[in-house]
């Protein structure tokens, strides 16, 4: 399988640099998710890997073979798009066979691959059905099957779950995770959905304004964002930011309205301009405890698994805290909160984590 190496890749449309001087390696035999908001350049980057766009400057290599201007059909890759690319008026089996007919394979080999792929995707029972009989999620599974049956070196996925209805989404996600764990190909997957990214990725390449701001495994990027943008983008809600008016520095120590301990920042103390704390890292108590601060619950809503998301006010500082359902507090209630020092991330004036 191939590593995908990008060297100073830029793609401009008029005066806009959709992808801006990216140098990056997508490791072989792993799942790399390009994640970011609309317009961050993730789809353009994938289209250049696919050969559907030519970079304005820079080079693309599969291992050490340059493919920058090699046409798509000679790149030995499979693609799955937002809308399933399948042939209507034919059976599922025929849809899976068609991409194999140009591969000079024996009938037995074609049959074996079709059945292997159908098994892997859990659609063996649908092989003789016409594609019109199937829901959108199953159709997308066929599109995935068509992409992997040829056994290409690289498989590219462009938001394959986005347009699938909510009931079929989960089954497709489960199926993709199973497929990814069994395949040894290099997989590049584009999405704006952080849940999809964190569920499926070996590593997430987070993009903003045409550049990759951080590439790391899901756990690391969630727990240790390298920028305020990463802290905000990952998580629901994004990380709480404590701005400079709520922070004080004395020597190497940092204090804040949010917590009562002093954070030891060493030589970086003077650079600390913003602190980041996740909603689940704020512990909410009914009584004063060590290192706790008084706060007032000003708003609350429900969330995933019945947890409450509380809007807390500490004077003019406002943050969000997440508490289990049985510990939901009342609006107007006074509470005490604490945060472990290890759960506080320090950022400099440019939004970079220190």
């Amino acid at each position: 399988m191939y590593d995908i190496n990008l060297k100073n890749v830029t793609k401009s449309f008029g005066s806009l640099n959709a992808v801006n001087d990216i140098t990056f390696t997508i490791p072989k035999s792993s799942v790399t998710v390009l994640l970011g908001p609309s317009g961050c350049g993730k789809t353009t980057l994938m289209r250049m890997i696919a050969g559907l766009e030519v970079p304005t400057s820079g080079n693309i290599f599969f291992d050490d073979i340059e493919v920058t201007r090699v046409p798509t059909k000679r790149r030995n890759l499979g693609m799955v798009f937002q809308y399933p690319v399948i042939y209507r008026g034919t059976s599922v089996k025929r849809n899976l066979e068609l991409p194999l007919l140009t591969e000079k394979l024996s009938k037995e080999e074609i049959s074996k691959r079709v059945h292997d792929v159908a098994d892997l995707l859990g659609i063996s029972g649908d092989l003789n059905k016409m594609v019109e009989e199937l829901d959108n999620g199953t159709r997308q599974k066929i599109a995935v099957g068509r992409a992997i049956a040829r056994q290409p070196q690289i498989i590219l996925f462009d938001e394959p779950i986005t347009n699938i209805d909510i009931t079929a989404k989960l089954e497709l996600k489960r199926s993709l995770k199973e497929v990814f764990s069994r395949l040894s190909q290099t997989i590049v997957y584009v999405t704006h959905d952080q849940t999809e990214a964190m569920t499926l990725a070996d590593q997430i390449a987070l993009m903003q304004d045409g550049v990759i701001t951080q590439c790391a495994p899901p756990k690391e990027i969630y727990e240790r964002p390298k920028s305020q943008f990463a802290g905000w983008f990952l998580g629901n809600p994004g990380i709480n930011f404590i701005e400079k008016e709520h922070i004080s520095q004395t020597g190497s120590g940092i204090t804040s309205s949010l917590f009562s301990q002093t954070l030891e920042a060493g030589s970086m103390a003077s650079k600390v301009k913003v602190l980041g704390v996740r909603a689940e890292a704020i512990e909410v108590h009914t009584k004063q405890t060590a290192h706790s601060r008084a706060a007032r619950v000003v708003r609350k809503s429900l969330g995933i698994g019945g947890q409450y998301l509380l809007d807390l006010e500490y004077g003019s500082l406002k943050v969000k805290a997440r508490v289990p359902h049985q510990r939901g507090r009342e609006i107007g209630e006074n509470v005490w909160t604490s945060v472990n020092s290890s759960d506080i991330i320090m950022f400099d004036e440019n939004g970079a984590a220190l």
Binding site: S38, T195, T199, Y222, G235, N236, A279, L302
Partner: protein, 363 residues
């Protein structure tokens, strides 16, 4: 004390043989954020069109500020409307787009300026006013569309699933904006959605739409904690509640998966147990019902994971924190024990789907 700004009584609407709204009734109060939550295909769009006066009703009344407007034309109902898609006029600036509903009613220049100032401050779009729609991002366009809907100064607004299709993070920001906007304006917001997470995040009052009717209305936490029927429980909540069919005999619920002592009204009957994800724990816990399961998918939601489990061919869902996952060393395909909290079980009649009782906590 809030008062009724919009009241719908006994609304029915059919298309040929297909009955879409069936004797539907509810009220929406001033200074309240009311959210109608229903699964796709339950008549949400038809309901919006009838409230807005874009479609006639077969039976029933629509009452706005105490006045029956059922037969009144759309314009005279004085309801602000924020549509599903942000169809901005491409040849108008943002300012002119926002002013447009006021231009239609021939408002004065001063009134338009005042309205634009008011809504652009609310939605933080002051710096976009002189731009053209083509220069805006998707999130900015939707914020402008919301501002346009709010430019008409009134006290009743209908928001027709305005965040559908937007990026996850844009939705998070706009949810915050909408909540703050309603709080500042102290008006009636009636928001319609099929997304349970949006309903949970936005609603003060929630109304469950199923089978062409509002089947339950109440304060968000009350409806979440005490659903009156199975569709109410499965419509509101994320991930969706677990559903297990079985039967009740002598204060016992039995199913292929578990048995539980229950407190129910009525005698022996076919029943359905509903259990929210947070009613299911991983591992063995005292006072719970232990069941063997296989973990089929861990969905990483950020601070927590949705764990999908297979129990004798039935799917169970629970929610676990990141620390749970790391502590328990959970991976897919792993066989494990799950524990059902008996007090988290709600029982529904199999046929009517109405609530008939609850599980009894182990002492």
């Amino acid at each position: 004390m809030s008062s009724s700004a919009l009241e719908v009584k006994g609304l029915s609407k059919s298309y040929g043989d297909k009955s879409v709204l069936r004797d539907l009734s509810f009220t929406a109060a001033l200074n309240d954020f009311s959210v109608i939550c229903g699964k796709p295909g339950n008549g949400k769009s038809v309901l919006v069109r009838t409230i807005m006066g874009l479609e006639d009703v077969d039976a029933g009344q629509i009452i706005v500020r105490g006045q029956d407007v059922t037969d009144a034309d759309s314009g005279s109902r004085d309801i602000g409307y924020i549509p599903q898609s942000f169809a901005l006029y491409p040849h108008f600036s943002v300012r002119k787009n926002i002013e447009y509903p006021l231009t239609l009613i021939k408002a004065s220049k001063e009134a338009k300026t005042e309205a634009v100032d008011r809504v652009s401050e609310l939605l933080k779009i002051g710096d976009l006013l002189e731009k053209m729609p083509v220069q805006l991002s998707g999130g900015q366009k939707q914020r402008v569309a919301i501002a346009r809907g709010l430019s008409k100064a009134t006290d009743v607004y209908v928001l027709d699933d305005p965040l559908v299709g937007l990026d996850f993070k844009l939705r998070e920001r706009l949810i915050e904006d909408l909540r703050l906007t309603q709080e500042k304006l102290k008006v009636a917001f009636l928001y319609i959605t099929s997304d349970p997470l949006e309903a949970l995040q936005l609603a003060k009052t929630v109304l469950i739409l199923a089978d062409g009717k509002i089947i339950q209305q109440g304060a968000l936490a009350d409806v979440y904690d005490a659903p009156s029927s199975l569709p109410s429980m499965t419509t509101l909540g994320f991930p969706e509640a677990n559903v297990i069919p079985g039967k009740i005999q002598s204060s016992n619920f039995t199913s292929e998966i578990f048995e539980a002592v229950v407190d129910v009204t009525g005698g022996s009957t076919a029943a359905i147990a509903g259990i929210r994800p947070e009613g299911i724990l991983i591992g063995k816990h005292p006072g719970t019902i232990a069941v063997s399961a296989t973990l089929t998918l861990l969905e990483n939601l950020g601070s927590e994971f949705a764990a999908y489990l297979d129990v004798k061919g039935t799917q169970f869902i629970t929610v676990l924190s990141r620390t749970d996952i790391e502590g328990l060393k959970l991976i897919e395909s792993k066989n494990l024990t799950i524990s059902i909290k008996p007090e988290a079980i709600t029982l529904f009649d199999f046929d009517s789907k109405k609530k008939i009782g609850t599980g009894v906590a182990h002492v």
